[in-house]
Symmetry: C2
Subunit: 209 residues, 2 copies
DNA sequence: GTCTATAGAAGGATAGAC
DNA sequence: GTCTATCCTTCTATAGAC
């Protein structure tokens, strides 16, 4: 359909991939404004002309990189609570995996960059939200609904409960990590935060466990 | 004490104030990278030389502006729950006031800018956290402790409970607003979010209300 | 496709007159 | 203190050779 002048994205070009990799690392680590096309070309070991042969502009390269980074963020299925388990244990496992993901360096960096540029690139806010929090909420909500059907939880509104569960898990830890306010999150800190969040969630939604 | 070459910050200079005002609006709205010293000078109706007479560099001007914006953020005392009130009503009022603040345009913009630049300017992350979330948490925690002493709530750890209360209030609304994902927060949406948060909080920490 | 070289604009910061 | 004018660097993007 599209007779674009640019090479097809599907084409496996090593140079193109090198540009994507280098640009992703730089943009995610330093943001849009702090990274120049020179720096990207240098890091990818190509000339700027080659870079511009594959990508129309800095804006387009940035949007491409970040949009993809938002989608390839995580396989949420592996993070979700298990099914045949004690509810508290299942929630605790989910909480640990979720925090282990959202508190790690690259996820934090993507989060920062998307927030920073969501005004100038509104589609990035959308891509991040849909590929991350929204997907997670939907999956968690349906898991909670199952548990409610099985009589193990009392959940009036699974979407709201899912949002609240994830909010409780993030609580203060996530913001501090995003801002770089010490102490850096540790395994022990994560476990404590998860335990507190799960305790509160079950006190509100548990079926008298 | 300081025999600085720069004019004293305390000195009431109209030009200096004009620069501060213009720079604050621009930096907060567009971030560090998207704003040039030319643009600031133009918006403040001064020359660049004057601008540099008051501020050593773009970095210093930016840090000054954002640090101050973080401190002058809010008078939390007026947002805190009232004392002689029904607990649910007090929490609901607090929730509405808190969300009314953190969801409004300027607060969101500051939040975005600080997150974006907290890597390059770590002191900003600290200033924001201390002047905002940390202060709020401490005040809320002491209010919760009072209520617990009065037998109206059961709070094992007031700091944790305060963090959880604020997390429940923000839940999904805050992130969506930061990312610019529609729908924009409305009065009705805020009220619903507050009601859901307070219900969950009281289910977990209430004394059988 | 890929490079070197460069155009053309904009950026941060300063010199020197008043 | 304040301005105009300018320096030097860096930036995005492209032209032209191979």
């Amino acid at each position: 359909m599209s007779a674009s002048v640019l090479p097809r994205p599907e084409t496996e070009s090593p140079k193109r991939q090198a540009v994507l990799d280098a640009a992703a690392d730089l943009f995610i680590a330093q943001g849009y404004g702090a990274v120049s096309m020179d720096a990207i070309a240098r890091a990818a070991n190509v000339s700027k002309a080659t870079l511009y042969a594959y990508f129309r502009s800095k804006d387009q390269l940035f949007a491409t990189i970040i949009t993809e980074a938002c989608q390839a963020n995580l396989d949420w299925e592996t993070v979700l609570p298990a099914h045949g388990q004690d509810v508290r244990a299942a929630l605790t496992g989910f909480g640990r995996r979720m925090l282990g993901f959202v508190l790690h360096g690259r996820a934090l960096a993507i989060h920062r960059v998307v927030l920073a540029e969501s005004v100038r690139f509104p589609e990035l806010g959308r891509a991040f939200y849909d590929g991350g929090p929204a997907t997670a909420r939907t999956l968690v909500a349906s898991w909670l609904a199952e548990q409610a059907s099985a009589g193990r939880l009392r959940i009036p509104d699974p979407e709201v409960a899912a949002e609240q569960l994830m909010a409780l898990l993030r609580a203060g830890l996530h913001l501090r990590a995003l801002l770089g306010v010490p102490p850096a999150p540790s395994e022990a800190g994560i476990d404590a935060a998860v335990a507190a969040a799960v305790a509160t969630f079950l006190a509100a939604y548990g079926d008298g466990v």
